[in-house]
Symmetry: C2
Subunit: 463 residues, 2 copies
């Protein structure tokens, strides 16, 4: 972590200077952050010195050591790990080719958790459906012994609203295809770019039906396959996937705290997830989040000193394979959850934050005006009071824990999400700095002020 520490030390001196002036602490913190590339440097360190880190792998263990070492080098008051049992899976080769009528290579990747094909691969004709729903309505004779191709295209949207309607095909495609006797399922990637990458991501099986291999085609390859099929051809594919399960491993939630000076038992939690998929370097998903929350907490500590409440930074394990670290965190800390005053997670890349949604006790919303006003100069507007807070804290509001969603511009997030192309160069340094400043402001005001938004309101079944 040499590279990082040099620049962090330089920053420390700078912050030390700034702390002597007469402006108010929040202003000093904002100035400090606006002069700091710390979030960017942390994600640079993580992607360069660890790289991809799929849960339970050797690289995941190195990521845990990196995170622990980072918190310690930044002299957080408490640094500890929480063990999490994870199933380790490796992708292996994923090869697909058109055999007939027009032999050519396709770009695919295995969906996370998929079984392998039989040794030597499989060959079958393709049947195309426009959506999971269309597959569900198909007859077995259309599907039996074939490769199912689900061709639903994701729509681009700032808030990522194109994801939900399409990701269901990734999650359940193998189950629905297997019910009708398919040999394998391939989906059009859940992604918005025309760069020729296939997007991986978690999928599920159902013990009542056969486990069949599941993969994703890049958008360009899905287009090509679609053209062949729409031209009336019986398209035969060869698919060879060599994914493997490696059994249970231990990973860790890595936690760093700055202990509160007045109310140490009251906790402001900011989080991100430490794991990533294995093909990119996990820069946007979620190295950016790691950089943002660690830098925000560290800038606060360096610039304004320990806050009144405890500021806890949680780097969750194994988010990608089903929020495994987050569920363990909620389980192991169940008796402590009532002490969490508010939680927020950064896990949507490094785009600028444009809105703050909350899930605060309605009475506390008026007090929170100081928070909304402090964020406004960053271009962040007040949103609704129905926030989910982010994947790893999504189970907390049901336990009464208030959450905030600092909503990032995700217009381009799904161009890179879960692909080999999720690398450091996709992060805009000014945009990640704006995130860092917003999390610093949020952390400062929630950990030093009197806002207590507990308990989170429970939302209707509409959520």
């Amino acid at each position: 972590m040499r590279r990082l520490l040099i620049t962090l030390s330089a920053l420390f001196l700078l912050a030390g200077c700034a702390s002597t002036d007469e402006t108010n602490p929040l202003e000093r913190l904002i100035q400090s952050s606006e002069q700091s590339d710390q979030a960017y440097e942390i994600v640079t360190s993580l992607t360069t010195e660890v790289g991809p880190r799929i849960p339970g792998s050797e690289a995941d263990k190195r990521a845990v050591a990196w995170a622990e070492s980072l918190f310690k080098s930044l002299q957080f008051d408490k640094v500890y790990k929480q063990p999490v049992r994870v199933r380790n899976w490796s992708r292996g080769l994923a090869d697909a080719r058109v055999i007939a009528p027009f032999p050519q290579q396709l770009v695919i990747t295995a969906l996370g958790g998929s079984v392998a094909t039989q040794p030597g691969g499989l060959e079958a004709s393709v049947v195309m459906f426009e959506s999971l729903e269309e597959l569900q309505q198909a007859k077995a004779e259309q599907v039996k012994d074939r490769i199912v191709f689900i061709n639903k295209r994701m729509q681009r949207d700032r808030a990522g609203r194109g994801y939900g309607p399409v990701v269901i095909g990734r999650a359940r495609g193998a189950i629905e295809a297997a019910k009708l006797g398919a040999h394998a399922v391939l989906i059009r990637s859940v992604g918005t770019s025309n760069s020729r990458f296939a997007h991986t991501g978690a999928m599920r099986y159902d013990d009542s039906v056969e486990r069949i291999p599941a993969g994703a085609l890049s958008n360009a390859d899905a287009d090509n396959l679609e053209r062949m099929i729409n031209d009336g051809h019986d398209v035969r594919l060869f698919v060879d996937m060599r994914a493997k399960e490696h059994g249970w491993q231990t990973s860790y939630n890595v936690i760093g705290e700055i202990t509160g000076t007045e109310k140490p038992d009251e906790v402001v939690l900011i989080g991100a997830h430490l794991d990533s998929w294995d093909e990119g370097t996990g820069a946007l998903d979620d190295g950016a989040g790691v950089g943002i929350v660690v830098a925000a907490a560290n800038l606060l500590k360096q610039t304004t000193g320990a806050p009144k409440r405890t500021l806890r930074v949680v780097l969750y394990a194994a988010e990608e394979i089903g929020l495994v670290g987050a569920r363990e965190y909620a389980r192991a800390n169940e008796s402590d959850l009532a002490n969490i005053v508010v939680a927020a997670e950064s896990d949507f890349g490094a785009g600028r934050i444009y809105q703050i949604d909350t899930r605060f006790a309605p009475d506390a919303l008026a007090e929170a005006t100081t928070l909304f006003d402090a964020l406004a100069p960053l271009g962040i507007v007040k949103g609704n009071n129905e926030a989910s807070g982010g994947p790893d804290i999504s189970m907390l509001p049901a336990k009464g824990v208030p959450v905030v969603s600092l909503r990032q511009d995700g217009t381009y997030y799904f161009d890179y999400h879960h692909t080999p192309n999720d690398t450091l160069d996709k992060i805009d340094i000014d945009a990640i700095r704006q995130n860092q400043t917003a999390y610093a402001i949020f952390s400062y005001l929630m950990a030093n002020g009197d806002i207590d938004p507990r308990p989170a309101p429970q939302l209707g079944s509409a959520r």
Copy 2:
């Protein structure tokens, strides 16, 4: 070619209708082209029904059959093939990983024609140079037993002027590194995108030095490696490349002609190359060119009938591995070259044409005003008289053959060039239609008019 023929037939009817009106023939041709997606449909057919087509491969043979069938289905007057001997090379696996200090996968590809690594791959420390020139000035003790990394970055430019200064490292890197005892050479890709693709392309060996494996890293991976090295680490890589030479094969220049009505021995030549690298589908390089020149000739034939001079469309073999088809064309047709009134090649993607450069006998430039005037409404300005004409006709001016360069906007061409990402979706349908119209205008005026720009002027040593 079912898909293509349906739409071409529909267009034929449309063009038939248009030909009954009273406007002048060139106006009718322009109108026809502006209503036609023919170039786009041809490249769609080639990329969908053939796909990648490396010289001498089975796919290359299918491309030759496709091209012959296309000319015949379009009822060109003469369709013939010219055999070309090519060496067939296959890429095989290309794997590279950082072993120490920060183990992670890198994205590489083999340079075209590279030898394989020894079985089982090789492991060595990396030495980085900022350019080929810096490598040439190095001492053997810096380089011996290492992997050389040439880290020169290509600059984006509309005219592609960033290519030349960088491609020399791709061409000669293996020679210069081997002279100093390196085990292998990796270059930063010759490409302008931050999409995580490595760019392949031809490289050379020199019989006087050892042949060492040569590959390219994606820009993102070159960045990562550069960071590790600049942080002072001894970076060790594992590289495994399994490229193979498969010996001599026969490929073909495929040629279609529309015989001239008045001066059949005088030839207007428009060309593109039929082969492609093996990772993309060869859409921009050079399916687009194939679509543009075939569509332009076909629209001319359908709309205005056979021209006075012969219009010859040459689809060259094996451009990518060293202009092999073009050299054979020039050799085999040497006695006929004097009959070529003018030649033009489309081989720079599908961006809009913004300029016409010529290499015309100076006396003919005044006559050529009709050509410049006809192209101006397409946004094409008159350029210089020092055109090279394009790779496959670059050897013709020295033989006195006049050439034209219809210069395309290449701002984004090197984002995709020689990568798996060179696929159909990168072609803008309006831009390729503008190219088609420009080639149709050029073909019509040069094949029907009195402009005779022979002989091409010989340029000074400055070129």
